[in-house]
């Protein structure tokens, strides 16, 4: 890098990498969309689980990794996603559309609940969200039409199991793709810069004029919607809810935290890696019963203490890699003449303002 005089440098948003990411990402999504024509339903059915796990990990990371809100109550929205599906399905909407409509309703609910939850901070925020999740479960099971405390099935569902699996697969893939795309563009946007500064130092972010409360609220709502959509997929795949205490279980928060911590908190790639690791572990070790959950807890603690940036964080500190470019860097403009430099400077200042 040559001398850093104004005009001879510009701010680079990794535009080239971003284009590659978009092209490759689109290709991967299209390929995955055609997977049901290649693989048997048992395979794609297993992938549905992976898709909703990545979705859950990504939105939890958005909450905790970027906005600094550790929530152990996201199961509230998972449960609402499942039960919201029943509500709109009973009104005559097909179950897949119900999932999407329910997610809008969940966004509204999350917005309302944010006013209660945001009274608390840090650790008490975490446990407060847990209480809210419990209260939501206790309210949901008061409704007899929703199966009360017993759980229920989806009444109006696609009869053919192959088609059912196909539609659920596409929905899960669409939700995953949507979540990742929204996350990527959100973090590249002006608000993303605000979020990253909140993550690094909330007080300093506030001093720079960032509306921390508003930014956090938007993330809280988005995380609620994401968890709700994942909950709908869980419900679709299981053809209903076995019991409310299962879909509203705090274990979901444990899984989310495990995935994000192992993969790397505060990165987009980390939760994806964490979700894949969790998925593989679940495949092989879930017959260990509850010892397995205890092991997850131990690993989460070890990751927090000894690998605080997770697997992806450890990788990026060694190699300069990123699959989802969200950062900024200052690069020298080689051989910048007077006129070109001024043009570049104007361009780069526009790019930062965007």
């Amino acid at each position: 890098m040559s001398d850093l005089v104004p005009g001879a440098v510009r701010v680079d948003r990794y535009r080239r990498r971003m284009i590659i990411t978009q092209v490759v990402g689109a290709a991967v999504i299209v390929l995955l969309a055609f997977a049901p024509y290649v693989f048997v339903p048992a395979v794609t059915s297993a992938w549905i689980k992976l898709f909703y796990l990545i979705t859950l990990a990504t939105v939890w990371n958005l909450l905790a990794g970027y906005a600094g809100m550790v929530s152990v109550g996201q199961q509230a929205y998972i449960g609402l996603g499942a039960y919201g599906l029943f509500v709109f399905n009973d009104l005559g909407v097909n179950p897949y559309a119900s999932a999407l409509i329910a997610s809008v309703a969940i966004g509204v609910i999350a917005f309302a609940l944010s006013f209660v939850a945001f009274r608390l901070r840090g650790g008490y925020f975490a446990i407060g969200t847990w209480v809210i999740a419990e209260a939501v479960r206790q309210i949901v099971i008061r409704f007899d039409s929703l199966g009360a405390g017993r759980g229920r099935g989806i009444s109006d569902y696609t009869a053919d199991p192959v088609l059912r699996n196909l539609f659920t697969y596409w929905l899960a893939l669409g939700i995953l793709a949507g979540t990742l795309i929204v996350t990527l563009f959100l973090l590249r946007s002006r608000m993303g810069i605000a979020l990253q500064s909140i993550r690094d130092n909330e007080v300093a972010a506030r001093a720079l004029g960032i509306d921390v409360g508003r930014t956090k609220r938007i993330v809280f709502v988005l995380a609620g919607i994401g968890a709700g959509l994942a909950g709908s997929v869980i419900c679709l795949q299981a053809i209903g809810v076995a019991s409310p205490s299962q879909i509203f279980s705090v274990s979901y928060s444990a899984f989310m935290i495990f995935m994000v911590l192992i993969g790397g908190i505060g990165t987009i790639e980390g939760p994806i890696i964490g979700a894949i690791i969790y998925y593989v572990m679940d495949l092989y070790f879930s017959q260990m019963g509850l010892w397995y959950l205890a092991v997850l807890g131990v690993l989460a603690i070890l990751a927090t203490l000894f690998l605080p940036r997770g697997i992806w964080g450890a990788l990026t500190s060694r190699f300069n890699i990123s699959v989802f470019p969200i950062g900024h860097r200052v690069v020298a403009v080689p051989g910048a003449g007077e006129g070109r430099a001024a043009r570049r400077a104007a361009q780069s200042s526009m790019a930062t303002a965007e």
């Binding site: 975490a126 509850l290 989460a300 605080p308």
Partner: protein, 288 residues
């Protein structure tokens, strides 16, 4: 109705006791111990085990269980949380949540989900009739008395003793405390030890009240303790007692209406206090 009110107030005793440990840990270390309820459960299990294995009286077992968990708390702080505190604000929270996930699952694998009895002789059934229709159980009364004594003792300890003053100093500014030549890590660990010990005691009382303990009790208990802390007002030890009583009364009165309602109404009262009176019902004077 009057009976329910009295029972509710007494129920508040066990909530307050549970809340006290949480309050100390947060007050001194700014760490919210999400595993607080699980520590209570472990305390109750240890009491039940020492009863079943060695046939010791539950009161005798307390002499063992409380210091044992206090010791565990001291070393959990020294080995894990102290390290986490240096990493980030969120790290200690995640560590305690990890512990909260480990304990119930291990307990289920070791002792199944069945209730483990904590026999108390006839203590649980004995009661004193105050007036017609209002009778006070001996055990709830005893719990309340212990809770009040414990809060008073903690208050005195923090206000009057040297280590108590260190703890308040560590809560305010651990850097300056270090400059005064006090190892803040030991002070923190001691506070966590006390918090764990009180949690164990509260867990045994909670278990005695319920006639036994299951691996799932910790989840309920941590939420009750937390609700009592917030309803009472952060930073006030007597507030936790008031918060516990409010929660106890709300749950008991709701239980009169329908046996399915206590938990929901308790949670709603908590959310209402949070919404409309976020500083809690008791103004804190002494910052812990």
């Amino acid at each position: 109705m009057a009976n329910a009110l009295v029972q509710g107030i007494l129920l508040g005793g066990v909530f307050a006791m549970a809340a006290l440990g949480l309050s100390i840990a947060f007050g001194v270390l700014r760490v919210v111990n999400l595993a607080h309820g699980e520590i209570m459960t472990v305390g109750a299990y240890l009491a039940a085990l020492s009863l079943a294995q060695f046939g010791v009286n539950v009161w005798v077992s307390l002499v063992l269980v409380v210091p044992a968990l206090g010791f565990v708390g001291y070393w959990v702080q020294r080995t894990m949380l102290q390290r986490a505190l240096r990493i980030s604000e969120l790290a200690p929270l995640l560590v305690t949540f990890g512990i909260a996930i480990i304990i119930p699952n291990v307990l289920i694998e070791l002792f199944t989900t069945n209730k483990k009895a904590i026999p108390t002789g006839d203590l649980a059934v004995r009661s004193i009739t105050v007036v017609e229709g209002v009778s006070i159980g001996v055990l709830p009364l005893l719990t309340m008395v212990v809770a009040v004594l414990l809060i008073a003792a903690t208050q005195l300890y923090l206000a009057r003793t040297r280590t108590g003053r260190y703890m308040r100093a560590a809560a305010d500014d651990s850097e300056t405390l270090r400059l005064m030549g006090v190892d803040h890590r030991r002070v923190y660990a001691l506070a966590m030890g006390i918090a764990f010990g009180i949690a164990a005691l509260a867990g045994v009382f909670f278990g005695m009240r319920q006639g036994g303990v299951t691996p799932f009790d910790g989840q309920l208990a941590v939420l009750f303790a937390f609700e009592a802390v917030i309803i009472g007002g952060l930073g006030s030890l007597w507030g936790t007692l008031a918060g516990g009583v409010v929660l106890g009364v709300a749950q008991t009165l709701a239980g009169v209406v329908s046996p399915e309602l206590p938990l929901l109404v308790g949670n709603l009262v908590f959310l209402a206090v949070l919404m409309f009176r976020p500083t809690g019902i008791v103004r804190s004077k002494v910052a812990v």
